[in-house]
């Protein structure tokens, strides 16, 4: 699986000296180096989606353990419920909801962008801002309501 290396090319409008001819004949600028890349929220959203999936992989172990505790009967379930109600358990639970909302919102952003929509600078930034920031207030709201209606208590 060897790709032919991009070869340096001369293209009109090459003010950086970094244009290369891709294997398909396109003349494109080299990707900027990490050190000169300007931070933008679309980048944060992209990275956070991967982070969300990694966190979800870890979090799902807790969900499968919850299913297992249920299948092992009332005593095992009581133990699991006590662990989930402990301060550390509630912290993990909050993380799970934040990850879930992040998955839904960032996944929606990803899906919209994959269909070729929402790719103007303005809309891509707006979608990314929602995907990056909204999961936290949503998760807080989720737990505030759970506590308020007495479904969960310390």
């Amino acid at each position: 699986m060897t790709q032919p290396n991009p070869t340096p090319g001369v293209a009109s409008g090459d003010r950086t000296g970094r244009f290369v001819v891709q294997p398909n004949g396109h003349k494109t600028p080299l990707s900027p180096h990490m050190g000169i890349w300007r931070w933008h929220v679309t980048m944060a959203a992209s990275i956070l989606f991967r982070a969300t999936l990694i966190a979800a992989s870890v979090g799902l172990v807790f969900i499968v353990a919850w299913l297992g505790a249920l299948a092992f009967g009332p005593e095992a379930y009581e133990t699991a419920l006590a662990l989930a109600g402990s301060p550390l358990g509630l912290f993990v639970g909050f993380g799970l909801t934040a990850v879930l909302f992040s998955f839904i919102l960032n996944g929606a952003r990803h899906t919209i962008n994959d269909t070729g929509n929402g790719l103007t600078i303005k809309s891509a930034t707006a979608l990314s801002n929602i995907a990056v920031w909204a999961p936290v207030p949503l998760a807080i709201l989720f737990w505030v309501v759970l506590f308020a209606v007495g479904r969960v208590s310390l």
Binding site: M1, P23, N24, G25, H26, R50, L53, I54, A56, S57, L60, V61, I63, V64, L67, G68, L70, A71, F72, G73, P74, A76, Y77, E78, L81, A84, G85, G93, L96, T97, L100, F101, F103, I104, G107, A108, H110, T111, D114, F142, V145, L146, R151, V152, S153
Partner: protein, 134 residues
């Protein structure tokens, strides 16, 4: 590389299987978005619920069925997602293949365990380890 390199609108198209994986990722993610909303509402319903209440929830075939579908699609999606992440960050082919295989195995085991537990709960089976030597 086998076969002639093909282009569509001057963009190189996938030579073997990349296109199929991309489509699978999109289809799985699209299906998981509404299921994710359902999981959020389910989490709200079942948070702190008593054992009998949770078993009642599982006794509804729609609940158990949707949960089983969610588990299979989600673990399948995560398997593809980890493959992409490893392809980006693990340049050594051997280590990458080993890690991809290991994670596929982990996700397969987690999905199988989920289905096993969900089916038992949906059928109202006696608590484990009933049927396994106890």
């Amino acid at each position: 590389m086998s076969g002639a390199v093909k282009f569509k609108n001057n963009v190189k198209i996938s030579e073997r299987h990349g296109g199929g994986e991309w489509l699978a990722e999109r289809v799985l993610l699209t299906a998981l978005l509404p299921l994710g909303l359902w999981v959020a509402s389910t989490g709200f319903t079942l948070a702190g619920a008593a054992y009998d209440a949770v078993l009642d929830w599982f006794a509804n075939p729609l609940n158990a069925g949707l949960l089983a579908v969610t588990a299979v699609l989600l673990f399948g999606y995560l398997s593809l997602a980890w493959k992409v992440i490893l392809e980006d960050y693990v340049p050594q082919a051997g280590a990458r293949k080993a890690l991809t295989g290991l994670l596929n195995l982990v996700f397969f085991v987690l999905a199988a365990a989920s289905l096993f537990f969900i089916v038992r709960l949906a059928l109202g089976s006696a608590p484990l380890p009933a049927g396994f030597g106890a």
